[in-house]
């Protein structure tokens, strides 16, 4: 029980941090109507051009709103890990009676608890204003449930990226590669069915489709219970994989940690 309370304290720290760092959140909110407006026009134009897609332009706008929600909500926690490694602050965190990775993950989830609802409401309002069509409540529930799970996974991935600071000066380029792979293989802007077959097959070997296209597909196609079970299984398997990878990597890097000065 005590252990849970310790981690809960870090969740609260994350909530307070997110509330204090409102500027970035407002900036992202400002971005939402612009990007959805541009894509609403684009999908209308593509529809006029007769693109062979099963989805109506307004469904594609809702799809983009859902994928943007998953991408924009997770805090870039790798920056904090990178700074801790660079400054050597990580050495002070190691003797604490709480896992460093666990505490950072909880902090990230605390920040997510503020960011996800705010951005979610913003995106919902913008998508509704552009399309004037409401999605089915069951589809919204699907997006919310799997989207939140995907965000938790993304926070865990950011922690792993941050640990790369033990080898690299700056982990930003690594983040760019991860981000672009997510955009492309996950289907950020267009549903994966518009990509060629070989491209989709390539994506199926990665967690990216289950992070973006998986949760958002409910808005463009009819989803079934078996599809939900399959998606949940994929997310769980990848989460298990990343937890093990994170634990092994952290054990490895802390073993080779050398302190200079005090």
């Amino acid at each position: 029980m005590n252990t849970l309370l310790k981690y809960w304290a870090f969740v609260r720290v994350g909530v307070v941090r997110a509330l204090n760092e409102r500027g970035e959140l407002y900036g992202r909110l400002l971005f939402l109507p612009i990007i959805l407006g541009v894509f609403y026009e684009l999908w209308s134009a593509v529809g006029e051009a007769g693109m062979p897609t099963a989805s109506a332009p307004h469904d594609l706008v809702w799809y983009l709103a859902a994928t943007e929600w998953v991408v924009l909500s997770p805090p870039l926690i790798f920056n904090d890990v990178q700074e801790d490694v660079r400054r050597g602050d990580i050495a002070c965190a190691l003797p604490r009676p709480i896992s460093y990775l666990g505490s950072m993950f909880c902090q990230g989830m605390g920040m997510l608890a503020v960011r996800a609802p705010v951005l979610g409401l913003g995106l919902f309002a913008c998508a509704l204003a552009f399309t004037r069509v409401l999605p089915e409540p069951s589809d919204v529930l699907w997006v919310a449930a799997f989207g939140l799970a995907a965000m938790g996974f993304i926070v865990a991935c950011y922690l792993l990226l941050g640990l790369a600071a033990f080898w690299l000066d700056d982990v930003t380029p690594l983040y760019w590669i991860w981000q672009k792979s997510l955009f492309l293989l996950g289907g950020l802007m267009v549903p994966l069915e518009l990509y060629p077959e070989w491209f989709r097959e390539l994506g199926s070997f990665t967690p990216f489709p289950s992070l973006l296209s998986g949760p958002a597909s409910a808005l463009t196609t009819h989803v079934t219970t078996p599809a939900g079970i399959a998606l949940a299984t994929q997310l769980l398997s990848w989460s298990l994989g990343i937890t093990v990878a994170g634990a092994l990597l952290f054990t490895h890097v802390t073993r080779r940690l050398q302190l200079k000065g005090g």
């Binding site: 500027g23 900036g27 407006g37 684009l42 006029e48 051009a49 693109m51 955009f183 492309l184 267009v190």
Partner: protein, 264 residues
């Protein structure tokens, strides 16, 4: 004439120093440039996927979009390589770090913007040239039009960014807002103008002047409408002057941070 020559020497010296700084961390330099190149190519995959399914989108074919991407990436790349300091201006104002520049004999805005260079801009320039070459719209005979458009676009980008980042003189902690406004400007340069109509179109030729960075240059190169040459030149001079005027006006309100430190 002496004044112009003095400024030219000053800019060359600043450029040389920036280059030496960048090359001192060769790995970082190459990494940044390479990843920006990959970044730009990645975003084009979206258009590639769209044009696999349709031939034209409101009169635009894939070659036109490549031309649009090339112009935008190259213009932005030139801007951040030659005037990368513009992205730091908000922070310098907020932290009261402009003091060392205010006492310099050269124009403060010029010193501020040219005192930094972003290595990622090289990646933008390389990807820009790649897209221009792939578009099938630029050939040896009209390549001067592309170079002219890129230089004018870089001036418009700089003018816009200078005005956005100078907002910190009036409002506190505006770095995020300024970066967002600059990002919006970049974002709109990447989409065909036929998607936008009504009041938004006016915005795209005034507040967020993407129209002068890519829309008109695309028409200049694709349709060889030479009448647009003076329009682009005027727009470049106008937006750059506006950005400088906003910065200069802002320096009257600047409050020193009274910090001791080294500039460089």
């Amino acid at each position: 004439m002496d004044r112009v020559s003095a400024y030219w020497q000053f800019l060359r010296a600043l450029g040389g120093t920036n280059l030496k700084t960048a090359l001192a961390q060769r790995g970082h330099f190459a990494f940044q440039a390479l990843f920006m190149l990959i970044n730009n190519l990645t975003f084009f995959v979206f258009w590639w996927a769209l044009f696999r399914n349709v031939e034209t989108i409101r009169g635009w074919v894939i070659g036109d979009v490549q031309l649009l991407y090339g112009l935008s990436a190259a213009s932005y790349g030139v801007m951040v390589v030659l005037a990368g300091g513009v992205r730091q201006i908000s922070r310098w104002i907020d932290h009261g770090e402009l003091d060392p520049l205010l006492v310099q004999p050269k124009a403060t805005w010029l010193y501020a913007v040219a005192s930094r260079s972003q290595p990622s801009g090289i990646g933008d320039i390389v990807s820009g040239v790649f897209f221009l070459a792939m578009s099938g719209r630029v050939y040896v005979g009209n390549s001067w039009l592309a170079v002219f458009s890129v230089l004018c676009g870089a001036c418009v980008f700089l003018g816009g960014a200078l005005a956005f980042y100078s907002l910190a003189f009036w409002l506190s902690r505006t770095e995020t807002l300024s970066r967002q406004l600059t990002d919006f400007l970049i974002l709109f340069t990447f989409y065909p103008d036929s998607l936008f109509s009504g009041p938004l179109r006016v915005v795209l030729f005034t507040v967020l002047p993407a129209g002068f960075i890519t829309y008109l240059p695309v028409r200049l190169i694709r349709d060889e409408r030479l009448i647009l040459l003076p329009v682009l030149l005027l727009a470049a001079a106008g937006f750059l002057s506006l950005g400088v005027a906003v910065f200069q006006r802002g320096t009257r309100r600047y409050a020193s941070g009274s910090r001791f430190g080294l500039w460089g």
